[in-house]
């Protein structure tokens, strides 16, 4: 990305949707209960990796073309932790969307709730991570765009601005495509975009004190230390489209992956052992 392309006066209002997720890479020993189910409490809650790339995309647009960056997270009050991280990295404003009515939302209901929140902020550009590591669906971003009738660009790798358009480079699986996209537009961002910049020390000192009212006995902090808090009513989300009521998919069954096996044929790591194995594979036409 370079700044040779033109931005526009006033820059761009960027919104980034971020999610707090259990670190599924750390599912090992102590994170599994004796019955084979996952002990979520034993897993650290982290800033979803590709949402960090999405934040980086928004921060780069702001850096090169001016404007603002607002981070939104939907979830429990604990999700304020990643909103603070976003502020420490350079986001100007953060909002937590939290509501009991949102519990049990599948991607359709989640994208509906987030689209209501995004709409209130009237953005030019919306950035989401391609997918979250707990569900790996990659559905929420494109669904927010559909609901807002924004252009949707998935698998974003690079972006430049040109007035009321973005020039987006995206991975299409079989190659790379360059698009000219009319704003407002939503982008889902992959790790190829580049890592999120480190915290700024000055901002860490300041924003570690940022809080949403729910963390502070219902009282909003003064000034820019306030993390905004939005309920479904605040964003005009209809109750029957949120949470369980607004989710067409149902989980019918969950089975933990338990590896049975173990009855393999042992082969000695010697010339004889390996030689006999190769002979066996040749004899049954697996090789040769």
């Amino acid at each position: 990305m370079n700044a040779q392309t033109k931005g526009r006066e006033g820059g761009y209002n960027c919104v980034v949707c971020i999610k707090q997720v259990p670190d599924t890479k750390k599912v090992t020993g102590e994170a599994m209960k004796p019955d084979g189910t996952i002990n979520r409490a034993a897993l650290p809650a982290i800033f979803n990796p590709e949402d960090q790339n999405a934040l980086e995309a928004a921060l780069r647009v702001k850096e090169l073309y001016g404007g603002t960056v607002t981070a939104i997270a939907m979830g429990l009050p604990a999700a304020c932790a990643i909103l603070r991280e976003a502020l420490m990295c350079g986001a100007d404003k953060a909002y937590l969307v939290t509501d009991r009515k949102a519990a049990g939302s599948d991607t359709l209901a989640t994208s509906y709730i987030l689209s209501c929140a995004v709409k209130k902020l009237n953005p030019d550009l919306v950035f989401c991570g391609r997918q979250a590591i707990d569900g790996d669906t990659a559905q929420t971003g494109p669904q927010i765009a559909e609901k807002l009738d924004f252009a949707a660009i998935t698998y974003l790798e690079d972006i430049e601005m040109d007035g009321d358009h973005a020039i987006a480079t995206r991975d299409i699986g079989t190659g790379v495509e360059k698009d000219r996209v009319k704003l407002p537009a939503l982008f889902t961002v992959t790790e190829k975009f580049g890592e999120l910049r480190p915290y700024e020390v000055r901002r860490v000192m300041k924003y570690k004190k940022a809080m949403a009212p729910v963390e502070n006995g219902g009282v909003a902090l003064e000034g820019d230390l306030a993390i905004g808090q939005l309920s479904c009513d605040d964003i005009g989300a209809e109750a029957d489209r949120c949470g369980f009521a607004g989710s067409p998919t149902n989980v019918n069954k969950i089975v933990s992956v338990v590896l049975a096996g173990g009855d393999y044929k042992e082969v000695a790591p010697t010339d004889e052992g390996v030689g006999a194995l190769v002979s066996e594979l040749i004899a049954d036409h697996t090789i040769g």
Partner: protein, 350 residues
């Protein structure tokens, strides 16, 4: 609109680029055939593209198992653009009321399917590894006699979640069509039946007055020489290989066997091999005749992408590594010692 939605067809999205089908539509038709026969309905392939795409590809779709090809041709649909494809597809679903629509979990499928589901306000399950037809007992909803309500013959959408540590079965019994994306390489295509034919139905794109906010400026195709999905033999390495230099040993073994080289996520993250070689839930799914696993401990997400291989040989210094649980042959030892012995034996005997 169909009155009785259970009579609706089973559809697969026959994605094409530059007038060519990848393996994905054939894989989907293989599974779609099974679902349609179980339900006693027709199997449709939805083909969307520029002028002439129907003449070029319909016969291939019939030979791969489709009973009907629903064709939408329009110059505005020449290259994939999410909003245009979504709009035409949504109109087609409203017109024909299919009961099931499945897409490949490709870049295109994962762009289009969520937008279609969002527009129709129906459910969508991502990245399924299996699809079945079965009954769903809705415990939240009871009949007059107090028993739980049973919905017959719904699509059971089976997928790994939580980093591959659990397998979930998802249903969307009420908001139809039932939609899912399916992982590449997981479903088996049918053997092509030359001369098999079916009904070709043309539909209008219905794009009048629809503003498309995206202009495609340029497409640069990647022509990767790495073809893991098509390989009969795969030699794959993990963190235990230790270095990029040691990975050359795996290439030597693959060369001796006429196979391809793959890697676990750890090997890719450590820079031992290219991203295109990644095998597992977030990489490619493979089922070769022979899979030789070298220095891979066997995280669930990796096993999800290779455990259906016909024969698995695991080489690892740790006898307790989970990879041995899916292996047919296990060699507890140092791959730097074992692989040269293997190459030597192949050269002597092969």
């Amino acid at each position: 609109m169909l009155e009785d939605r259970t009579k609706g067809e089973v559809w697969v999205f026959a994605e094409q680029e530059e007038g060519k089908l990848s393996d994905v539509p054939r894989e989907l038709l293989g599974k779609g055939r099974e679902l349609a026969e179980r339900l006693g309905v027709r199997l449709g392939a939805v083909l969307i593209g520029g002028e002439g795409v129907g003449a070029k590809l319909s016969s291939q779709l019939f030979e791969a198992g489709a009973d009907v090809v629903h064709l939408i041709e329009d110059p505005a649909l020449e290259v994939f653009r999410g909003k245009a494809y979504r709009h035409s597809f949504v109109e087609l679903i409203k017109e024909c009321s299919p009961q099931i629509v499945i897409f490949g979990a490709t870049h295109m499928g994962r762009d289009l399917a969520p937008a279609v589901a969002s527009a129709l306000k129906c459910g969508l399950t991502a990245d399924c590894t299996d699809l079945q037809i079965g009954d769903y007992t809705d415990k939240k909803c009871t009949c007059e006699d107090g028993s739980a309500k049973v919905v017959k013959d719904v699509l059971l959408q089976i997928r790994p979640a939580f980093g591959g540590n659990i397998i979930a079965t998802i249903v969307n019994p009420y908001n139809w069509p039932q939609m899912a994306t399916v992982r590449e390489g997981v479903m088996k295509p049918l053997d092509p039946q030359p001369g098999r034919t079916g009904e070709l139905v043309r539909h209008a794109a219905k794009l009048e007055g629809v503003e498309i906010p995206v202009e495609v400026l340029e497409i640069v195709r990647r022509h990767s020489s790495i073809n893991l999905k098509g390989a009969r033999i795969i030699v794959a390495g993990g963190a235990g290989v230790g270095s990029k230099e040691n990975f050359k040993l795996l290439h030597d073994l693959a060369d001796a066997l006429g196979g391809a080289v793959g890697g676990s996520r750890a090997a890719v993250d450590l820079g031992y091999c290219e991203h295109e070689r990644q095998i597992g839930q977030t990489g490619v799914t493979v089922r070769p005749a022979l899979f030789i696993s070298c220095g891979i401990s066997g995280a669930v997400q990796h096993l999800a992408g290779m455990q259906d291989s016909a024969k698995i040989i695991a080489i690892n210094t740790d006898k307790d590594a989970p990879i041995f649980k899916v292996a047919h042959y296990g060699i507890v030892g140092d791959l730097n010692v074992v692989i040269p012995k293997m190459i030597k034996a192949i050269k002597q005997k092969g």
